[in-house]
């Protein structure tokens, strides 16, 4: 739809202005990115991975970030999740600017406020599922009794009780990802960052994982930020940001539409972005 093309920068992303979303939101945003830029390379050879990107994530929101390979979506996630440092701009999580934090404090912050799910499940191959899920809690020195109770609780919610004693190599890829999701959830983080969580899964397992994320979001009120290039995965979210060439190209809101309808709208934007991209070339 041409309307999207004419509005490459959503209103709320404009500098200095409060977006409509924020105005409607019941509480302060959980995550707020302000004019973040990320520049790679030396003086002669500069790559602008992120160019003046601003957006907010509300509490309890399930936000998707979409874009083609090299669009900067993973860089964006790394920057807002404190794994990578921004070149300029601010990232506020729970009202705290994480770009100015010292590494030691950052480590602690990451441990207590964020949960991660990656494309490859990133489970420790020497630990059982139960131990993998418990790991973030034991690192934070939560008492053993509490650790075991919370692991059981999360495993119950995500329906992975029967694989708790298995090792990663004894599980399917989908099971591994759901264990990783449980691990991200167990600390009750402010935001869960998911980087292409369905990237290595077949469609059945991808669906199971997305349903788990949906459960986490709806039933456990977890805020989820998911980067994906898969329109089907994106259709599970409430809102999708489209990134192209380091900028926010547009955004889509699911509203009250069904997942199927949302999926079709996402497909249209993707097709249009792809088409325009090839024209530009």
């Amino acid at each position: 739809m041409p309307a999207f093309a004419q509005a490459p920068r959503p209103a709320h992303a404009a500098p200095g202005k409060l977006s409509q979303v924020q105005a409607q939101a019941p509480a302060a945003p959980v995550l707020e990115a302000r004019h973040i830029e990320k520049v790679y390379g030396s003086r002669q050879n500069v790559t602008r991975a992120l160019n003046d990107v601003s957006f907010t994530v509300e509490r309890g929101e399930f936000l998707g970030i979409m874009g083609a390979s090299g669009s900067g979506k993973s860089t964006l996630l790394n920057c807002v999740s404190t794994i990578d440092a921004v070149t300029s701009g601010e990232v506020l999580i729970g009202g705290v600017d994480v770009t100015r934090m010292k590494p030691a404090k950052l480590t602690r912050f990451r441990r207590e406020q964020l949960g991660f799910i990656f494309q490859d499940s990133n489970l420790l191959d020497t630990l059982t599922a139960r131990e993998n899920i418990a790991l973030p809690l034991t690192i934070s020195r939560v008492p053993a009794k509490e650790v075991l109770r919370r692991v059981d609780e999360v495993a119950g919610r995500l329906g992975i009780h029967e694989i708790l004693e298995k090792y990663p190599y004894q599980m399917s890829g989908g099971q591994q990802q759901r264990v990783a999701a449980a691990r991200a959830l167990v600390t009750e983080p402010t935001v869960i960052m998911a980087d292409e969580p369905t990237g290595a899964l077949d469609s059945k397992n991808a669906r199971l994982l997305l349903e788990s994320l949906e459960t986490m979001n709806e039933r456990l009120q977890a805020t989820v930020l998911m980067v994906t290039h898969d329109s089907f995965a994106a259709s599970y979210t409430h809102r999708v940001l489209f990134i192209r060439d380091g900028r926010i190209f547009t955004e889509l809101r699911r509203g009250d539409s069904t997942r199927q309808a949302f999926f079709e709208r996402i497909m249209e934007v993707v097709a249009m972005m792809g088409g325009e991209g090839s024209d530009a070339l």
Binding site: L123, D125, E131
Partner: protein, 732 residues
């Protein structure tokens, strides 16, 4: 081009190659330094004193070098496998990009060549420096003065080193080429995946295996402590010892096989500990590794056990000799005469009967005057210079001690034996003699007047036995003397020749018991009896000792030189012309001291050499295993960092893991050694007590330097690797 790639690879894979380089350099250094021994002993002035020592040491070290080369060869193959495992993917990539297998092989060979070359140069420089320093060490070991110190280079040692290195190079090359040639590209490319599989075992079974292993070790200890060593070579004793050995070996292997499972189970039951921080990661990481390296850990424990035991025993023996040499050399020169006993005479006469012209043998009627008999020796026989040995010419005061066989002529039982004495004081026979003929053999006997003459000669107070007193002399040290001391101390009455005798002394006069110059005690027990009793017993002579101090006008050098001239011993015959005795050992005080120093030096040298090589080999294997383990677990450490673990905590987990890997084999090795040594001490105590105190210090130092050094290097390198893993993810 290939050369450039290879050089680039070596530089890029620097860390992987570092272990290889370090180990190989160390091998070359030790190799070269110890093979210069023949030149070292020359400069250290050992050969001036003891001609054969240089050659002897040289040949022993040369033999050991072969052993060392084999150890190092295996080590290098192992270190090399570690590198190859890491680089399979890279070799696969070269082939995917269209490089022929031949070319890949050339790159591989060039890389090995570069590293080996670097190791050779580095090792030789270090070896040269070390060998210069070792001259001083050698001199202090052999207690000599360095007369003419100069920088030296041994071509022989150099050639030997290069030869061994080339051999090692070729072996590794063959292994590497096989990896490149055999493997299919798809396997090479997916090599990373294959390494990641973790073998897990049921922890309950592991824990059970651990308990069985521990039990086997304990039973083996108990058996060894109870049975002792099979010194007499009897088949049953050897069989029992073999079973004990097999038990301890099997036990050690099972111990390490089940160790991780046991630790896991034990700590899992302590919930508060297990579910805390990185404890469960550390334990799981340990158990994942222990499963794959348990066998080598067991081997290392056994090798360390051998190293500790041999080094400690060797150096303690050397120490013992050093301590007893002063007491063991009462005079300038001693000579000893051995009389034929009745059974020997019968045997020799039976042999001689076949040969009419042969010598006839007889049991002596009484002791021979050794000073007079010495003149039957001939100096420089068969030359124009021939002349009789004139001991009297250099002798000042001298003394002859005569001892008698305690079995009276015609009787079959000795009048007093060690077994009798042990029974009398209710003590067991000392280890090592209970099955030998020493127990049934009687003590030697000497007369009161002869012993008093000896005491006068030594400038000591005389004793008075009266009609019914006795005393016992011995300089054998602890275990045998304990029995004699008990006998004397308890005032045990002996029934000899129809007379009841009681001791006149409460302790063995150890300082007044040495009749000949020797490194260690030689008098295993001589009972002193009243003269008339000895006469009535009708005993045959047993040994005679001549103790000579040089005359006032004769310096020690002159005396030693005269004794040292080439000489043929004369026959000792009775009036009927029958042979009654044979000359035994003779020794000057100087030669005793020198041979003690040489023996001391030799033993210490070999002990240190073997110990050092074994410990270094073990430590190097552990280092390689640990570094490859850290590399394999790199992904896990990165995940931990992502989950918000501080790098310091990860490093701590690595430290705990590596401490377990380094400490457990060492602890088991030390425990085995402690058990074995406690038995060995009992055995060696027969030869004059074993003092372990001082030598443990040196052994400990070798261990701290070599083993601890490797441990530190391992940990520091691992820490660096962990930092890199963490940084790559978080920063990139």
């Amino acid at each position: 081009m290939l050369c450039k790639i290879a050089w680039g690879n070596v530089r890029r894979a620097g860390r992987d190659y570092l272990v290889y380089l370090l180990t190989l350099t160390l091998a070359v250094t030790v190799f070269y330094a110890f093979n210069t021994i023949s030149i070292q002993v020359d400069i250290a002035g050992v050969t001036a004193q003891n001609d054969g020592m240089g050659e002897l040491l040289g040949s022993i070290i040369a033999g050991l070098t072969v052993f060392l080369a084999v150890v190092m060869g295996f080590l290098m193959v192992y270190a090399n496998n570690f590198i190859m495992k890491r680089r399979k993917k890279e070799f696969g990539l070269y082939q995917v990009l269209g490089m022929g297998r031949g070319q890949v092989s050339v790159i591989m060979a060039l890389e090995t060549l570069f590293v080996s070359g670097a190791a050779l140069i580095l090792g030789l420089i270090l070896g040269l420096a070390l060998s210069q320093l070792m001259v001083f060490f050698t001199a202090s070991l052999f207690k000599t003065q360095i007369s003419d110190f100069h920088f030296f280079f041994s071509l022989g040692a150099f050639m030997q080193t290069v030869g061994c290195l080339v051999a090692i190079f070729l072996v590794t090359l063959v292994f590497n080429l096989r990896v490149v040639r055999r493997a299919r590209i798809v396997d090479l490319m997916s090599a990373n995946r294959q390494n990641e599989t973790v073998k897990t075992r049921n922890p309950w079974i592991s824990a059970a295996i651990f308990v069985v292993g521990l039990g086997a070790i304990i039973v083996a200890y108990a058996r060894l402590l109870h049975d002792g060593l099979p010194y007499d070579g009897q088949p049953e004793a050897m069989g029992a010892f073999f079973i004990t050995t097999a038990m301890v070996v099997a036990g050690t292997i099972l111990f390490f096989f089940g160790l991780a499972g046991f630790l896991l189970k034990a700590l899992q039951s302590a919930r508060g500990v297990y579910w805390r921080g990185l404890n469960m990661v550390t334990l799981r990481q340990l158990s994942a590794k222990v499963n794959t390296v348990s066998f080598s850990m067991a081997m290392i424990a056994m090798i360390l056990f051998l190293a500790i035991t041999s080094v400690t025993t060797g150096m303690s023996l050397a120490d013992t000799m050093n301590n007893s040499v002063e007491r063991g050399t009462p005079v300038d020169y001693t000579r000893c005469l051995v009389y034929w006993g009745p059974s020997v005479v019968d045997e020799m006469n039976a042999d001689a009967a076949a040969d009419d012209a042969g010598m006839r043998y007889a049991v002596a009627d009484g002791p021979v005057d050794m000073m007079a008999a010495s003149s039957s020796d001939v100096i420089d026989p068969g030359t124009g210079e021939t002349h009789p040995f004139d001991l009297a010419a250099i002798a000042g005061d001298y003394m002859q001690v005569d001892t008698f066989d305690s079995t009276p002529r015609g009787a079959s039982e000795p009048v007093v034996s060690l077994v009798d004495l042990c029974d009398a004081v209710d003590m067991p026979l000392p280890a090592g003699v209970d099955a030998s003929n020493l127990s049934s053999l009687g003590l030697a006997v000497m007369t009161e007047s002869n012993y008093n003459a000896y005491l006068r000669f030594r400038g000591m107070e005389e004793i008075d036995l009266g009609k019914s007193g006795y005393t016992i002399t011995s300089d054998m040290g602890a275990s045998v003397n304990d029995i004699y001391n008990a006998v004397l101390g308890q005032g045990v009455a002996l029934e000899i020749g129809g007379r009841t005798l009681t001791p006149v002394q409460s302790r063995v006069p150890e300082d007044a018991s040495t009749f000949q110059n020797a490194m260690m005690g030689m008098n295993a027990g001589t009972i002193v009896l009243p003269d008339d009793l000895v006469a009535s017993l009708d005993l045959a002579p047993y040994y005679s000792y001549l103790m000579v101090n040089y005359a006032d006008g004769i310096s020690t050098e002159e005396g030693d030189a005269y004794i040292g001239e080439y000489r043929v011993y004369g026959d000792i015959t009775n009036d009927a012309g029958e042979s009654i005795a044979s000359w035994g050992s003779e020794a000057t005080r100087t030669t005793t001291y020198e041979s003690t120093d040489s023996m001391n030096g030799l033993i210490s040298y070999l002990a240190i050499y073997i110990g050092f090589v074994l410990v270094v080999a073990c430590a190097a294997i552990l280092t390689i295993q640990q570094l490859s383990g850290v590399a394999d677990a790199g992904k896990n450490y990165r995940i931990l960092a992502e989950l918000g673990t501080r790098t310091g905590e990860i490093a701590h987990s690595v430290l705990v893991q590596q401490t377990v890997f380094f400490l457990f084999p060492l602890m088991v090795g030390v425990a085995h050694s402690a058990c074995a040594l406690s038995v060995i001490i009992k055995l060696v105590a027969l030869f004059g007590g074993l003092t372990i105190g001082g030598t443990v210090g040196i052994t400990g130092l070798i261990f701290v330097v070599a083993y601890g050094g490797y441990f530190c290097v391992t940990y520091l390198m691992s820490k660096g690797m962990v930092r890199d893993f963490v940084r790559t993810r978080v920063a990139a």
